[in-house]
Symmetry: C2
């Protein structure tokens, strides 16, 4: 399940609640494209802004509309007590796997993070992906800690936050981490600008934000890279460079949320306050980019 393209859809919402119609519309795009798995309630799914009840509802919808594609549910929360409840909810609702980040408010220690994974993994009957994203969690995993956590029962993948830009250095990085992991634990790259390089460098999966909105484009890159056509994967990714630059400038969530609204796939706004979509200047910038990319690749 933790291989190939894992697509992370938005959870469209407003101040009243989840936009269920828009959410299932986004899911439909992913099941039609036949992505390898769907990562629901990741950072792109704004999990941390939702109540337990809302997260359960989103999980149920995802399972209901999955059409046989594995559904991986984000169960991260600031408090271990909550994580355990969310793990139980996800399993009961039929999730195929779970994704867990060490979200922090007070800076966490290695021992605290290890204990969190140890406690949660014990209560799981489905596989777990370790979510390493220092930009949002403000926790930095050492490779040693990754190795220790990867040996816990049910741990089957690590979602790493990008790879070095240069291919040989990226290969070295992936190889180095892999020596510390059990053989049944995969490595998935995230940070969409690094997707192609990560896969070309030997990652097993791409945990993708853009894949949650444009699965075909990201499947093209993934299939090429995993078939050994690294140049093709690289070229396909390079064409998206203006978009990757927007991701780095404004954050991938704001960019895909704004595109989803502009394309009529969701209402606008679709993010939980205090988060806002892009402002008028950035929207214009984005419109220009999409219009150029439309001629280059099959963007709507």
């Amino acid at each position: 399940m933790f291989t190939g393209l894992s697509a992370f859809p938005l959870t469209p919402m407003n101040e009243t609640g989840i936009d269920e119609v828009a959410f299932t519309r986004l899911l439909k795009r992913l099941t039609s494209a036949k992505v390898d798995s769907i990562g629901v309630l990741g950072s792109t799914g704004s999990y941390v802004y939702l109540s337990r009840e809302e997260r359960l509802r989103v999980t149920q919808l995802a399972v209901e509309y999955s059409e046989g594609i594995p559904i991986v549910i984000g169960i991260s929360a600031l408090r271990t007590r909550e994580v355990r409840q969310l793990a139980e909810d996800a399993q009961k609702a039929g999730a195929s796997g779970v994704l867990l980040a060490p979200v922090s408010y007070q800076q966490l220690t290695d021992i605290e993070v290890y204990s969190l994974y140890e406690m949660v993994s014990k209560s799981l009957s489905v596989p777990l992906c370790v979510y390493d994203n220092p930009t949002t969690t403000h926790f930095r995993f050492s490779d040693e800690l990754h190795g220790k956590i990867a040996s816990l029962q049910q741990v089957r993948s690590i979602k790493i936050p990008g790879v070095p830009n240069e291919l040989d250095t990226a290969k070295e990085r992936v190889k180095q981490l892999r020596t510390l992991l059990p053989r049944d634990v995969t490595i998935g790259v995230s940070g969409d600008p690094y997707g192609a390089t990560g896969l070309n460098a030997g990652c097993d999966a791409w945990y993708s934000v853009l894949g949650g909105l444009y699965p075909d484009i990201c499947l093209g890159i993934t299939r090429a890279a995993l078939a050994g056509l690294s140049e093709s994967a690289d070229n396909q990714s390079k064409r998206l460079e203006p978009l990757w630059q927007m991701f780095q400038k404004y954050g991938s969530l704001r960019v895909v949320a704004t595109i989803a609204g502009m394309q009529g796939l969701t209402d606008t706004p679709n993010l939980p306050l205090p988060l806002q979509g892009l402002d008028e200047v950035a929207r214009q910038e984005l419109k220009n980019i999409l219009s150029i990319l439309k001629n280059e690749i099959s963007l709507p």
Copy 2:
């Protein structure tokens, strides 16, 4: 209300719930010492790890046991929707003021943070203190943004994250910020090692973690500084240097939580998992420090 010593007590808890007896015991120490205000559900009060119901209960207890001392309630949350509910709960329960930090998961923009304060301040009938703590919120205020937010209705104080170590530089810093604020908005220093220097440099208040456990010691420093006895304030603070070093090494929350447990003021553990108190080595280090300080100053 936002002047003098504002003492921030722990919210002692376990995985089942709040330890109400221990919490009121801590409150009693603060009311007996007659601190100038009590900052409930700040970072030291672990607000972000509690449910809305638990936060309401803690607020009600604090108001009930306040003995006429102003109670300032932390209403911060990741989502604006929650902040508004918490503000309503705090006001209905009788809070004298509220404290609001721009807690973030996705990195927030200046516009998003300003809009949050604008929206919340409009619904308030009690004064608000802006909580600037980049270590936990991962948001950095510019002075310009502080000035804009300070002009919103109900905003009456800014809790700043420390001052430069050198007194003249600290004075310059406080003076510079003050030129941007309306006259009725106070500046309070936080980060306990900076308390004395902050007050000596012209801050109106000290938002103190140690004050939540040892109010008399921190009142001594505060009273001296506000009376212009800057050398006395400075000397009193310098005696606590070993403790400030522990704060910087392990985080003030873990240190005061461990002391509270060691002194029998709360059970052990008293923090919400994944957070843990200090390990055995650090506890021994702390015991030695407390034993030395006991002879120096009136520590229990």
